[in-house]
Each structure stands twice: as structure tokens, then as C-alpha cells.
């Protein structure tokens, strides 16, 4: 049965082959998106800087370091095509990585708070659907790996 479940020393993620390929290639996808947005003034609004070029270089350095750490922690060369095992000591890395990707996708939306709403004609439909999919995976890992489940009384799925 496909899904994400707890095992003895971590969690198993069993997905369709296409989903698994996508998940394994996610660090590379993120890297290419970051390279595309290398010169984008992502933090100009909240953090105006005298030296914009220096700021961009510093942000890029942090991104590169973080991505390199993820690519190291998330490397899964010997996994099967439809199932991957995440040991307990890498669950945090996976959760952090998935969250960073979600934040990156949301930051590129004109209205990040509207990521829940996806219509057929939405020009950002692709990114929003990706956000939903990654949210499902992140939530499932939190449930299986950490035992943290969404409660009905919380009413919806964002903070």
C-alpha cells in the first residue's frame, strides 16, 4: 500500500514511481529555481541595504551552503524506485528541506496567503499544486516520524 509510515528506525515513503522520481530530484529542482532567481531582490523590501550587490552575494552564499547541506543529507543513491527509507537522524533534514521549498514557492506567489486556493485558470496553479503536494508529504512525515497529527479542533492547516 502506498503511503508514508513508521518503521523501526525511521520512516518509509512509498509512492508512485513518478512521484518518487520527483521527490528524489527535488534538491536539483530547487537549485535550478534558485539559480534562476539569483539576481532577484528577494529581501529588498524587508531588508533594504546600502550595498545591494553585497547583500545578494551573501544571500546566495547562505542558499548555496544550505542547499549543499540538504543535498548531502538527502542523498539517496541506493533507494528503490518506489520506496525510500528515511532514518530517524535524517527526518529533521527532510522536514526542514520540504519546508524551505514550500516557503520558496509561497514567496514567489503574488499573494502567499492564497496558496490554498487553486482554480483551473490560476496562472500560479502549478506552483500552488506543488505546494499542496509538498504539504501533504511534510504533514505525513510529521505524523509518521514525529507522531504529530493535525487535530480537528485546530480548524485549518496553517498557522
Amino acid at each position: 500500500m502506498k503511503g508514508i509510515r513508521r518503521t523501526g528506525d525511521g520512516i518509509d515513503i512509498e509512492l508512485e514511481p513518478g512521484e518518487m522520481r520527483f521527490l528524489k530530484n527535488l534538491p536539483q529542482l530547487v537549485r535550478s529555481r534558485l539559480i534562476q532567481s539569483r539576481d532577484k531582490p528577494l529581501v529588498e523590501g524587508p531588508f533594504p541595504a546600502d550595498d545591494h550587490e553585497l547583500l545578494c552575494r551573501e544571500i546566495q552564499r547562505i542558499r548555496d551552503e544550505r542547499l549543499a547541506a540538504y543535498e548531502h543529507d538527502l542523498s539517496l543513491p541506493d533507494q528503490a524506485d518506489t520506496c525510500l527509507h528515511i532514518p530517524d537522524n535524517r527526518v529533521d533534514s527532510w522536514l526542514g528541506f520540504l519546508n524551505d521549498v514550500r516557503m520558496m514557492l509561497a514567496a514567489e506567489l503574488p499573494e502567499p496567503e492564497s496558496w490554498h486556493d487553486v482554480s483551473d485558470t490560476d496562472p500560479h496553479r502549478g506552483d500552488k499544486l506543488l505546494l499542496h503536494y509538498l504539504s501533504w508529504i511534510q504533514g505525513a512525515i510529521l505524523s509518521a516520524g514525529c507522531g504529530i497529527d493535525m487535530r480537528e479542533s485546530w480548524t485549518d492547516d496553517e498557522t
Binding site: D92, L95, G96, N99, D100, R102, M103, A106, P112, E113, W115, S135, Q138, G139, L142, S143, C146, I148, D149, M150, R151, W154, D156, D157, E158, T159
Partner: protein, 118 residues
Amino acid sequence: MCETCSMSAMLAVMNGSLPVAVQAPSKIRETGTEEDLGFAAPWHVIVWNDPVNLMTYVVFVFQRVFGFNRQKAERHMLEVHRHGKSIVATEDREQAELHVTQLHGYGLQATIRKADAG
């Protein structure tokens, strides 16, 4: 940090902004250069609401960063969700700054505020 405070105290003394004549070193500390800088006073760590982070992820982060039990982590998460923010810790400034850095690393929006700032 102590070296910085000591240096600041020395500069303050040299500038004449601190009384020195009759005070032993321990008294100089009490008069408060550290307090002026806000290192001795308690600071709040505040987590702010955002539209992207999952509620379960926020519970996870609170448990990881602060060592909260599940009940306490959920209570703070719901406070963030319902009231826009939650004071998750009150501690010395250095520790508060460390916690804010950790929270940013997890993708949460957090700031510090002096506890007596109203």
C-alpha cells in the same frame, strides 16, 4: 559578551557617564551597564503568524527548539494561529537571540522584545 560589557562600562566611566569614585567593581555591575544594554534584563521571544507553515510543523519546531512537551507546544502554536503571535520564551538576551536564530532556521518568523517594554 562580558568583554563587550566590560569595555562598554569602561568607556562609560571614561566618558563620565557612570559614577566611579566610591564604587567597588561589583557595584559598577549593579548600576547597570549590562542592564543599559539589555543583556541582564529578561527578553521575550515572540513567534508571529504566517500563512504558509503547517500547524503540525510549528508544533514540531517548538518541541525541537524549546523542548516543549506536546501540550505546551500545541498551546503556543494555537496562540500564534488565533492571536497572531505568542511569547514562547522569556530569558536573557543572548539566549533569546540564539532562539530567534534557530526559529528563523526552521522558517518561522520570530523577534525579541525587552520584557518590560510594554
